[in-house]
């Protein structure tokens, strides 16, 4: 797989909730190659502050149109600037980066929280293309966080929701539903992306059941290319780079959360 620097053109942004937006970019070369689980490195400013590119997971691809979608939460300097970008603006994007998910599952369950649901959305869409409708379990702090449901409607099979405050779905974390779902769902593979504590808890439960589990890790990154070792961590018996060897790992490979 080749990596590109593309001077993409912004075709639109839409507001998903108070702190989350989706941006669509014309990036034909990246769109042609990106697989679910991969990410891109976006330069939000041509100036020196912010300086580094920011990694964002690929949330969708339109091969005909040559576009990619990114879904991001506005959390700091760079994402605030990104939120102000307009249609027609240019953004330099490097990608596709990292390794995607192993998509050999026949009965997949997707478990996500927060912007972890972005790469899972592209994963779900690609599974539908192959005739599989994955079940999805998604957690949020409150009902507002679960705007994701509408994005998954029509793609996913059964969608289960949890909120910390009980304003939507089952009250609690995804762990409030997971054991029961694993019991009844006869899943052969679980795909997890979300906050580290969620991924840790989910992985443990899934592996215990003897079911295959993949997780997508996040680490502070500078290059995204395997060159700077910002994102290096201990795998089993060897050092791994999240940006290059991941961000998707088999759950049993992860030794640091």
């Amino acid at each position: 797989m080749t990596k590109y620097i593309e001077e993409t053109k912004v075709v639109g942004q839409r507001v998903l909730n108070a702190t989350t937006k989706q941006i669509d970019l014309i990036a034909p070369r990246i769109a042609a190659e990106a697989v679910p689980g991969q990410f891109v490195n976006v330069q939000v400013s041509k100036g020196t502050a912010p300086l580094l590119r920011r990694p964002l997971g690929v949330a969708g691809v339109d091969r005909n149109y040559g576009s990619i979608s990114l879904i991001y939460r506005i959390v700091g300097n760079a994402t605030n600037i990104l939120a102000d970008v307009c249609s027609g603006d240019r953004l330099s994007v490097v990608g596709p980066l990292g390794h995607g998910f192993d998509r050999s599952a026949k009965h997949p369950l997707l478990v996500g929280g927060g912007t972890g649901l972005a790469p899972l959305l592209y994963l779900a869409e690609s599974m539908v293309g192959e005739g599989i409708r994955p079940d999805v379990l998604m957690g949020g702090r409150t009902a507002d966080d679960l705007f994701w449901k509408e994005l998954y409607d029509g793609i996913a099979g059964q969608i289960s929701l949890t909120t910390d405050d009980g304003t939507l779905g089952t009250k609690g974390t995804v762990m409030a539903c997971l054991p029961d779902m694993l019991e009844k769902g006869c899943y052969d593979s679980v795909y997890v992306c979300g906050p580290a504590p969620m991924m840790k808890a989910v992985s443990a439960a899934v592996l215990e059941k003897g079911i295959k589990c993949q997780v997508s890790l996040e680490k502070y990154m500078a290059c995204g290319l395997g060159a700077c070792l910002s994102c290096s961590c201990q795998g089993i018996g060897k050092r791994v780079k999240v940006c290059q060897d991941g961000p998707v790992f088999r759950a049993e490979e992860v030794t640091e959360w």
């Binding site: 502070y220 290319l225 395997g226 070792l229």
Partner: protein, 311 residues
Amino acid sequence: MVRYLYHNRLAVDIAGLKMKTPVTTASGTFGFGLEFTDFLDLEKVGAVTVKGTTLAPRAGNKGQRVVETPSGMLNCVGLENPGSEYFLKETLPKLRKYKVPIIVNIDASSPEEYGELAAKLDVKGVDAVEINVSCPNIKDGGLVFGTNAKSMAQVVKEVKKNTSKVVITKLSPNVTSITEMAKAAEDAGTDALSLINTLIGMKIDIHRQRPVLGNVTGGLSGPCIRPVAVRMCYEVAQAVKVPIIGMGGIMCAEDAIEFFLAGASAIAVGTANFVNPAIAETISPGILEYMDRHNIKKVQDMIGLALPGRC
């Protein structure tokens, strides 16, 4: 814009190390070069300086390793690397397929160990060693040698004794007098100098009320340090005769030219590789354009033009 391939206006010779362009890569910011082949032609880079290499493999520091700062970044990678054995067996053979000089950045915890490492790397395919006496991110060695002229001189002598390659000594900016360090390295026999390594800095997470980086402090790099780097280059160029490889915050051809005018014979791009992974190739045409505009025939002709008595 590949004119520079067809003539040698951009060629420089750093104490015997022949570079087709005056642009190399700052150690630790370009991996082993192979990570960048999707973005550029390695053979159009003047030389590839690889990640800091130690005798044995190192796992580096725990915790968060990089954080952005105003116009810069802090890192505390801590010299993670697979060790010299692995480098020689696995990496070098791949790198040798490209016609580009290789500079290996070396780090150790005693002058003798520096010597041992230099001897090990005194093989075909390695064109120069760059002594890293200035890594602020490890406890043993590193900066200890970089802030003490005597210890540094010992290291330089040991390395010179043990290698037939061009020896470059990389200076730390975290000193009262960079010229004193430069002169000590020159007197100890270094063939060339490179500067600057990172400034020591830190960031505190005010919500968690603790340092952001796993190693507490880290090395500050990027455009924020360029004024300090240019000043040090300008000072050192007046104090020594050996050639200088200038670096620190170079983001484009204009920034590179500042260093040439300040007395550097070649330059390295570091943090900029993260922002634009093609920069190690694309900066050279920009330098050539400048030379055309200012009627400068060869890179050499602009080295030190801003030094006292020359401007």
